[in-house]
């Protein structure tokens, strides 16, 4: 710019800016007198004069100064570089500073002002929940703690990827692939909803896509972690943290946030993936109140007219708009339903979004009555009864019949989840299951010939079966009922799977039902039939994997099926036969790990496989094979625990393997090696019990560990230390028994511990005290026997107590 133009435009700017807007044009026309360059310059300056002051930008820039320098230690981590920041804190690329492992992690240092005691308490509690959200499309929360100065931090899996919208744009991803990515995101959100975690902050920048095309959700539940407690006032921090274009109307209003909130934000995300722009545009000025108003009051532009390039099919448009409804009740009832509708579109079937509102009305009814979780049992009863009545009336009205069917599928699960953790809710849960089954049984009679209904019923039966007695999740312990439900699922699917209409999804569903159903059957002694079911499941998964060799998830499923079969063979006392599927599982897992991306789930599976193989070799007396299997399993599991110290599951895995390995070492006479292993298990179990102090099983695990460690100390002729372990174990057993006198398992082990302590006292020369213990143990075991609480396999305890007591009599 020439000094001349600068000077002249400045003079005119000073004059014009003082004038009312309406008069500026006339003034400038006169003053510039046809000098276009001058006029243009003054207009440009005037248009800038209303923008936000530069000062506020500087204040933002100042905030970035408070970054911690590289190399700073935070807990056991060392910061490598700052990679992002926002209202809630700063994210760093970080690495373990103690060299425990060389993996990059993302460390989020939560902003200041959030370090009150109440917050930190909540932080610890919630962190535990978030750490258990294991899903391939969720960036795992690995660790967390507080800095020396008490500032909380979180450690997450580091995802090297691009934002989902950027990825779709840059890769020119075709529609179908965009939708598949979206469905993967939905499955992650659905998974978290089942764990009662709402994301609350879904937006493109929270979904990254890695180089191999995997979508990963970040910051799961962080909004909840950092948001206020239910009912509390919203803080400025939370408002600041919202991204207006993706926040739901209820969030902006400050109303209750539910799973429907995530449905809305997913709708907004889908909108972006279809049109490359958000549903509500912010004006150029960046005026946030305008966009808030739009989210609350304006309908988004129809995606078909908003999309710049590709055409948006009407069915997809209906799906997006359904998810984006202002009223939470008017949206899809669950993320699962949204995802299924997208899948229906992908499969070329009619979508639910374009159907009428009977389900909507029924949902509204349910929600109106869903006043509190405590009342859930009543709601379930009335809802299900209502559905049954409704179904009788509507039997012939096909369309409504479909709505009802949909309700059954999602509600069964939602209610179950909602009341699962309420104390004393067993009766309510049983009622849910009972009514749900009655309902499904009626529908099944009408299902013949309707493939879609058959599929959904089979899936619903599986879900009911899981709730009844899937040993791999919290359940009602009704194994017989679970098996019956699984059989129903299988017999519904059988004709479909053997027909030419069968899809891969049908075969996968059948395989899963065969494997899980067979697994449950195996635990109740249904040996040969259980194995036949599992073999069939494995064969189906093998065929699915062979049909698509590049599909990693199918091979992972096959590996999982082989593992279930191997485990059941082993527990049926067939270690030789078990080794074949286990070996195949191991090979597949190793292949998958070698091929590709770092995957904690695969490593966890491999650890478990090796552990089961170790047990099988041990059962066959093949020590030279058992040892390396156990040791590799331990290496993997120790590493995983180190990487994710918050995950109780990984610690439980490791504790289990240590127990098996230690027992084997002890049995083969290697007491000092066994002692080291048991001491490690003890430390782990202490940590688990400390995190969950009311969990009696966790307390018992500590007592068992103390007991085993004490036995080895006794064998090594270190009686004083052995007695210290036994003493602590005794106190823990007593605590559990006094809290729950009906816990015969604890009482049984308490009696067994008395024998061990008696022997140690005897070895230390305290014969009198030893005999007292033997006497007490025998009396307790006899009492248990009288009550029918002494399992046959533990009969030997009583025999030993009597034998020890007899020697007392002889001596005394």
């Amino acid at each position: 710019m020439t000094p001349e133009l600068f000077r002249r435009s400045r003079v005119l700017f000073d004059e014009a800016v003082e004038l009312p807007r309406a008069e500026r044009d006339a003034y400038l026309r006169r003053a510039c007198g046809g000098d276009d360059e001058l006029r243009e310059e003054v207009d440009a300056l005037l248009s800038e004069s209303d923008s936000e002051p530069l000062e506020s930008g500087i204040h933002e820039a100042m905030r970035s100064l408070d970054a911690l320098p590289e190399g700073t230690r935070v807990g056991p981590y060392e910061l490598v570089a700052e990679i992002g920041r926002g209202g809630m804190g700063t994210v760093y690329l970080a690495r373990r500073a103690d060299g425990a492992f060389q993996r990059d992690v993302a460390l989020k240092l939560v902003g200041t002002g959030l370090d009150s005691d109440a917050f930190l308490e909540r932080f610890r509690r919630e962190r535990q929940i978030l750490a258990s959200l294991a899903h391939p499309n969720i960036a795992a929360l690995l660790d967390g703690g507080t800095t020396e100065r008490g500032l909380p931090y979180l450690v997450m899996e580091f995802v090297d990827g691009r934002r989902i919208d950027v990825y779709c744009r840059e890769e020119l991803l075709p529609l179908r692939e965009r939708l598949r990515l979206f469905v993967a995101v939905c499955s992650a959100v659905q998974h978290s909803h089942r764990n009662l975690v709402i994301h609350r902050d879904l937006k493109p920048s929270n979904v990254l896509v890695t180089g191999d095309g995997t979508a990963k959700l970040l910051d799961f539940g962080l909004a909840r972690l950092l948001g206020p407690e239910a009912g509390a006032e919203r803080t400025a921090t939370e408002l600041h943290a919202l991204t207006p274009a993706f926040a739901s109307p209820e969030q902006i209003r400050g109303n209750a946030v539910t799973t429907a909130t995530d449905v809305y934000s997913l709708g907004a995300l889908l909108y972006v993936l279809l049109t490359d722009r958000p549903p509500h545009r912010t004006p150029e000025s960046g005026d946030v109140s305008a966009i808030l108003n739009a989210v609350l009051n304006e309908e988004p532009e129809r995606p078909s007219s908003a999309a710049s390039g590709a055409r948006v099919p009407p069915d997809l448009e209906a799906i997006v708009l359904r998810a984006l409804r202002k009223e939470p009740d008017a949206r899809y009832g669950s993320v699962d339903q949204l995802a299924r509708d997208v899948e229906r579109f992908l499969a070329g079937r009619p979508v639910e979004a374009r159907r009428g509102g009977a389900a909507y009305r029924a949902r509204k009814f349910a929600r109106r009555h869903w006043t509190g979780l405590a009342a859930a049992a009543l709601v379930v009863a009335s809802l299900v009864a209502g559905l049954l009545a409704a179904n009788v009336q509507r039997r012939k009205a096909e369309r409504r019949f479909e709505d009802v069917r949909r309700l059954a599928n999602s509600y069964l699960l939602e209610f179950y989840d909602a009341i699962r953790d309420l104390p004393g809710s067993t009766a309510a849960r049983e009622l849910v299951v009972k009514r749900g089954l009655e309902y499904l049984d009626r529908l099944s009679k009408e299902a013949s010939g309707d493939d879609a209904l058959t599929r959904e019923l089979a899936e619903a039966y599986q879900r009911v079966g899981d709730v009844q007695g899937n040993p791999f999740q919290p359940n009602l312990g009704d194994l017989r009922g679970a098996i019956a439900s699984y059989r129903k699922a299988l017999s519904l699917l059988e004709p479909l799977v053997s027909s030419p209409r069968a899809t891969d999804a049908d075969r996968a569903l059948f395989a899963k039902a065969s494997l899980v159903g067979g697994g449950i059957l195996a635990t109740t002694g249904g040996g040969d039939e259980a194995l036949a079911m599992q073999n069939r499941g494995v064969a189906l998964r093998q065929a699915l994997a062979d049909a698509a060799p590049s599909d990693r998830s199918r091979r992972a499923d096959l590996a999982q099926g082989l593992g279930m079969l191997g485990f059941d063979l082993l527990s049926m006392g067939k270690p030789r036969e078990a080794l074949d599927p286990l070996g195949r599982q191991e090979a597949i897992l190793r292949e998958l790990l070698e091929e590709g991306s770092e995957d904690a789930d695969l490593r966890r599976s491999l650890g478990r496989t090796l552990m089961v193989e170790g047990e099988a070799h041990q059962a066959l007396g093949e020590a030279d094979r058992a040892r390396p299997a156990f040791e590799e399993a331990l290496t993997i599991q120790r590493m995983l625990v180190k990487e994710r110290p918050l995950s109780p599951l990984l610690k439980q895995d490791l504790a289990y393997t240590l127990g098996e390995y230690g027992t084997w070492l002890a049995d083969s006479g290697q007491a000092s090696a066994a002692l080291a292993v048991f001491e490690e298990r003890l430390a782990l179990n202490r940590g688990l019990a400390a995190a969950d102090p009311r969990n009696a099983a966790a307390t018992l695990a500590v007592a068992f560990s103390l007991h085993s460690a004490g036995d080895q100390l006794a064998a090594l002729h270190r009686p004083a230390e052995a007695l210290a372990r036994y003493g602590e174990a005794a106190r823990l057993y007593d605590r559990v028994v006094s809290g729950d006198p009906s816990n015969s398992w604890a009482a049984l082990h308490r009696a067994w511990l008395d024998i061990a302590e008696g022997r140690a006292r005897s070895a230390a020369g305290e014969r009198g005290r030893a005999c007292e213990l033997f006497r007490r143990s025998a009396a307790a075991l006899e009492d248990l026997e009288r009550k029918g609480q002494l399992p046959p396999i533990k009969r030997s305890y009583l025999d030993e107590a009597r034998r020890e007591l007899a020697s007392c009599g002889a001596a005394g």
């Binding site: 710019m1 600068f6 400045r10 300056l45 800038e48 004069s49 923008s51 530069l54 930008g57 500087i58 204040h59 933002e60 820039a61 100042m62 905030r63 970035s64 100064l65 408070d66 970054a67 490598v80 570089a81 700052e82 990679i83 920041r85 926002g86 209202g87 809630m88 804190g89 994210v91 690329l93 993302a106 989020k108 200041t112 002002g113 370090d115 100065r149 580091f158 995802v159 090297d160 990827g161 950027v166 937006k203 493109p204 920048s205 929270n206 990254l208 910051d219 600041h240 991204t243 207006p244 274009a245 972006v272 722009r277 958000p278 509500h280 912010t282 150029e284 000025s285 960046g286 966009i291």
Partner: protein
């Protein structure tokens, strides 16, 4: 804490002496002052961070003022104080620009796209400004109008009010206020042009 304080006090005699030398006509004084104040401001910013206070947002005003209280003998003349703020504003600008430059470099080299918590999202304009562009535009402005550039520096980076900055520069508040209004519009336009 005690040792920190002593470290800061060590500089203070030197800063005051340099400011006085400047008033006496020592032309080399400003060049020796700048690195001293720069280092001090950086230390203050880091210290501020470590205090982790609830009302945490750092403000240039607060930082520069704190530096003033710690570095400068309170009996300085009005003119010396003006010199100090001039240097402090320049140092603060340098601190921010250097920081922005480093962050830029890190982002480029790590290749990571982890910008998850950036408040700026699709359709919402980022509130942070491009400091590097501002720095360049301010250079351009200084070439056209030295006084405007100094006023902007004092206001943005030392947090002085229009009145205060007018005193430091030596003009009336009305002039300073008009200068600043124009400078701000001009800079924004210049920065926009640099982005496009």
């Amino acid at each position: 804490m005690g040792s920190d304080k002593r470290g800061e006090l060590d500089d203070s005699g030197e800063v005051t002496a340099l400011l006085r030398a400047w008033s006496r006509g020592d032309a080399g004084a400003p060049d020796r002052l700048l690195p001293l104040v720069y280092a001090h401001l950086r230390r203050l910013a880091a210290l501020q961070m470590r205090r982790e206070r609830a009302n945490h947002t750092l403000q240039p005003t607060a930082l520069v003022h704190e530096a003033y209280l710690k570095l400068v003998d309170q009996h300085l003349s009005w003119k010396d104080r003006g010199h100090f703020y001039g240097v402090a504003a320049r140092a603060m600008r340098q601190v921010l620009v250097d920081h922005a430059r480093r962050r830029h470099a890190v982002k480029r080299s790590s290749g990571a796209q982890y910008v998850a918590i950036e408040v700026a999202d699709v359709g919402v304009q980022p509130r942070t400004i491009d400091l590097l562009a501002l720095d360049r535009s301010l250079e351009d402005l200084a070439a056209l109008d030295q006084r405007q550039a100094r006023l902007v520096e004092l206001r943005l980076f030392a947090g002085l009010t229009v009145q205060e900055s007018a005193e430091v520069v030596g003009c009336s508040s009305a002039t300073a206020s008009r200068d600043y209004r124009h400078a701000e519009a001009w800079l924004r336009r210049q920065m926009r042009g640099a982005r496009a």
